[in-house]
């Protein structure tokens, strides 16, 4: 599936929704499992517009459609290319680190999706169209204190904040260069530097 081009998969999604309708499948959980793009500043990105369009089209043909969204995965979030240098005990972030930010654990994705799928079939009226899995919501200051608790060095993590205006200007200047599969990182207040983003992109 990974090798398919977007346009091919768009056609496949249409075939899938058609088949779901004709097979009288009650509940469809489309492939979201990423950023809750409906409320982001980047909801007009073509990738997210296609996702939203697919959701709307599916709702016309299938009795219950449920989108399940996550924050950045907890197990992947706090690593060096995103600004979290735990070796040097320095985190470079956007803002002052006093805004609550959610992360989602691998374990919760599996458990929550399974329960949501069962519940959406048994009690469709009790399940909203959009569900967001948020395992933990704290500020970066609080996350840092959590890391400090288990730091072998006994040191406190230093937090270096990048002004929001500077981060936004960086985004505007560089967004056309960003690989689409990295966009989900961008709409979180995680990235302090687009140089970091390029390192991530090269590693993927």
């Amino acid at each position: 599936m990974m090798g398919l081009q977007g346009s091919d998969w768009e056609q496949n999604k249409e075939a899938l929704v058609d088949a779901l309708s004709k097979a009288k499948v009650s509940v469809y959980i489309p492939s979201e499992f990423g950023t809750y793009h409906y409320v982001s500043n980047y909801r007009d990105h073509p990738m997210f517009k296609l996702k939203a369009h697919h959701f709307e089209e599916a709702q016309k043909k299938i009795p219950k459609v449920v989108g399940i969204f996550t924050a950045l995965m907890m197990e992947q979030a706090f690593f060096k290319p995103l600004g979290f240098d735990n070796e040097k005990e320095v985190w470079t972030i956007v803002g002052d680190g006093d805004v609550p930010v959610s992360v989602t654990s691998n374990t919760d994705v599996g458990k929550f999706t399974t329960e949501a799928a069962i519940m959406a079939y048994q009690h469709p009226d009790k399940v909203p169209d959009h569900l967001v899995i948020s395992s933990c919501t704290m500020t970066f200051q609080e996350y840092a204190r959590g890391f400090d608790k288990y730091a072998e060095s006994g040191n406190k993590t230093k937090i270096v904040g990048k002004p929001v205006a500077e981060a936004k200007a960086d985004w505007e200047a560089n967004k056309h260069k960003i690989p689409v599969y990295m966009v989900r990182f961008l709409i979180l207040p995680f990235l302090p530097s687009f140089r970091s983003l390029w390192r991530v992109a090269k590693e993927c």
Partner: protein, 105 residues
């Protein structure tokens, strides 16, 4: 909950990042009879996928994703479909109707 209320669930994208997180929980639910049946839809059923599915009481169904009839056959009797295909990865090569370069691959 009676087993009569337990849904038949089908999934696509079982081998992806999200799929590997969700499938073990679906296997658990199947063992607990909170799911009546679990079908794994795939383009090509590898022996390892077949074996893992069989060990856990699930079944594997080869489908052609572009063919609605093929999908309908695999979905007959299914109550819930979970798609976990990595759409943004697939989309990363897309350079079509929007005219915007979206990916670097």
């Amino acid at each position: 909950m009676s087993s009569a209320d337990a849904p038949v669930i089908a999934i696509v994208g079982a081998n992806g990042y999200i799929g590997k997180l969700v499938v073990p929980e679906l296997f658990n639910a199947l063992k607990e009879k909170r799911i009546k049946e679990l079908r794994i839809l795939t383009r090509k059923a590898s022996p390892s996928l077949q074996a893992t599915a069989a060990e856990n009481g699930a079944t594997v169904h080869e489908v052609v994703y572009s063919d609605s009839a093929s999908l309908q056959k695999a979905l007959a009797g299914v109550n819930v479909l979970i798609s976990m295909v990595s759409f943004d990865m697939a989309y990363s090569r897309y350079d079509g109707s929007t005219g915007i370069r979206l990916g670097t691959e």
